[in-house]
Symmetry: C2
Subunit: 450 residues, 2 copies
């Protein structure tokens, strides 16, 4: 490909192009040979056909909010979806929204809410991210404890396959048994199986009941884990159940003048139905927590502080790596204890923000040297694997977590499972042009080398 | 394989065996070369290894309640799961139940309910079916309108692959991003990708709020469709929204002395939250429906009548074929009108029972000659395809609907999609021993012949 002018080639296909380097949200380098800005599916087919013939990597760019290097590249054709950003149909009888992939998630939800509906998953990047990226990554968020992640909300997709065919995967129906379920294969495929051009999301009515926001200061980490465990045993399904540890609270107080109570056990942020208030009160009393019922205004402020927590942490150190592990809720205490041990052993700060209600922890590794981080990063993943959890809940794999993913699959699932994933990739992308060298392919190749 | 004593071979592997022919629920013939009754995963591996070496078809039998011939066979090894029927773990913190595939669904839910939880999907065969069969078929039921089908409730599976490896597919976690989502590929794979040996189901707390059961007699089919459409537009999520047409009501009255009001528009059975009662009243008034709020006792009776409706219909004719199509809820009226036209054209009775809230219709074809039925059966499927629906919502494909499935995929999705499904089957089952000649494989082969 040396000396080859990709931009000229794309211009000859009548595509809008540019050529510049980018960085994604975590500063992974994106150095495309050309950036194309398609406005139609047909233009995408042109690009893919070309790339498939010439064996040139394609990377699709939504808003660049990946946290795992999933859109990094060198010399690829970067398909930027900025002009594929129309909401095509909001159907309030069939309860779906059909949209192009470049639509901003917050904007989509604003439009849905005007009609009394919403699309629940709310990644922290909701105000930045594209819905196409959220699907490719099967992103999660605070509402995951009740509503799951994006994989629970995609009914159907239109996709340009690596071999150039436009296909629809799935049906915009709640029930459909016509063949193997391929929809979920494409959700969370991180751009390795095709270019998503349309999405049918399932939508649901906005909750009608009044939800009660609570702030709970906990005396110890044991008691925090105890509260969550008891909430689950009592059959209470919170709308939101978040956690910030004492280090996070301190950082918010110092950097954002938050005025939050600091305590050993950190803070729980709960959003619950009124019917569950009495049970929650009792549980928190049992574990010596300090509960405050929030006004709407206070809730807004706390929600915003929670949303800014990662940014405040990042500002407090030279380097930050955001971890994303899941453990069974019953193993929360073990996980937190092991994380604290690691902090001591590596002598780094690793404040934890968590979607604690579903066991999804984000230890944020703060440090001066990146080398230490990478080793620590793996140790954190190993805690998840050891406790029967997962090395990623909602950030995905990209280039960052392929080794851990291979370890997890080998330990929990059997090596054959990774081989099946790799072979599915080969079937759908025989010339390996779709976001190559990452995720499943990379995990497989690395595991073969060992 | 002629003159070959499969039973002797299986006995030599120290397996419990028998040899007799069976029929499934719809009288499809099951004539195995041998039936084995494994008690452990290791015994299943022995069988699969043997079958894979000798290229002998394996069919897995849960409770035989398939409605599509999915467990029919001639000369296969039938793996009967009757001894793999233990509930292994109910985890009320991590909100899952881990179970063997042979467990009866009603029994499982009874055990879960004792702990305050449940597994929502409720196929009409819930009191007969095995949970393994329900997963293999991704079955649905009356609660589908709110809770979806089995594909929404499986977290992870243990599977003996056709090549003999024991693997775990997925993780028993709400959030997991370690690799492509294969779990949903196996759910609804109708025994063609492996033998399921363990299942982790997501469970949720029983609803705490009082639900209100309503019986609504409708003056016309237009008004029935109008009510459903308005319920959706109002953002009301019923727990149950069922429909029986006038022909079904008449049959229940004649055969079970039901005393239900017969009217042109049939009857809606709704289970709703109290907060929605006023809105529902208004909608039904608008469409001239006749609403009765049911006591607990009346509700039990109506629920039971609804459950027996298909059986009563079957008793009223010589032959009955149960259809299972889905249409977008917004196309319900078009669908019902087209079904009525077919009734006239073919001069048969085709009473409709429906999970109307999610657009899932069960026209029951009653007749004397089966020949007519098969042509009519296809016409019914074509209505679903034409209206943007699906030829199956919850009964699946088996040997019965392969042609319609191929047509739907070609029209809605692109022929490449069926090819991808077929190639996934080949990867996982290279010697084609798992329930061969059905479903995806058969649909693909038929479509190639055309």
């Amino acid at each position: 490909m040396e000396g080859f002018d990709l931009e000229k080639e794309m211009k000859e296909l009548n595509l809008t192009t540019s050529k510049e380097s980018r960085e994604d949200f975590l500063s992974y380098k994106v150095k495309p040979g050309v950036i194309v800005y398609p406005r139609t599916e047909e233009e995408i087919v042109k690009v893919v056909d070309y790339a498939n013939r010439k064996r040139i990597p394609i990377v699709t760019w939504g808003a660049g909010t990946s946290l795992t290097g999933a859109v990094s590249c060198e010399g690829c054709i970067l398909i930027d979806m900025k002009y594929m950003s129309s909401i095509l149909e909001i159907n309030d009888v069939d309860w779906y929204v059909r949209t192009q992939p470049g639509v901003n998630l917050e904007y989509l939800n604003k439009k849905l809410m005007e009609r009394g509906f919403f699309l629940p998953p709310d990644p922290a990047s909701f105000f930045l991210c594209s819905v196409g990226g959220a699907v490719a990554n099967s992103s999660g968020g605070m509402r995951g404890v009740k509503y799951g992640t994006f994989r629970d909300w995609v009914l159907a997709l239109k996709v340009v396959l690596p071999t150039g065919e436009i296909v629809k995967i799935g049906e915009p129906l709640r029930k459909n048994r016509a063949g193997y379920d391929l929809t979920h294969l494409f959700v969370g495929s991180e751009g390795t199986l095709g270019v998503i051009t349309e999405i049918w999301f399932r939508i649901v009515p906005l909750p009608k009941r009044k939800l009660i926001p609570l702030l709970v200061s906990m005396p110890s980490l044991d008691s925090t884990a105890g509260v969550i465990s008891d909430i689950r045993k009592s059959g209470i399904m919170p709308e939101i159940a978040e956690f910030m540890d004492s280090e996070v609270l301190k950082t918010l107080n110092v950097h954002l003048n938050a005025g939050l109570k600091e305590s050993e056990g950190g803070m729980l942020i709960l959003l619950i139905e009124d019917q569950d208030l009495e049970s929650i009160r009792n549980i928190i009393r049992k574990w010596d927590g300090d509960l405050t019922e929030l006004s709407d205004k206070e809730w807004e402020r706390v929600y915003s502080l929670r949303a800014q927590a990662a940014i405040a942490l990042k500002a407090s150190a030279k380097e930050m790596l955001v971890e994303d592990i899941v453990v069974p809720v019953s193993k929360l205490m073990d996980a937190i204890r092991k994380l604290k041990e690691l902090e001591g052993k590596f002598n780094v700060r690793m404040p934890v923000i968590a979607h604690i209600g579903d066991g999804n922890l984000h230890p944020n590794i703060l440090l001066e040297e990146k080398e230490v981080a990478l080793e620590l990063f793996e140790k954190v993943g190993e805690i998840a694997i050891e406790l029967g959890g997962s090395i990623s809940g909602e950030h995905g794999i990209g280039v960052q977590k392929t080794k851990l993913m291979a370890i997890q699959l080998a330990k929990h699932n059997g090596v054959k499972v990774l081989e099946i994933m790799k072979r599915i990739k080969e079937i759908i992308d025989p010339n390996d042009i779709m976001n190559p060298g990452k995720y499943v392919e990379r995990a497989y190749n690395e595991s073969m080398r060992n």
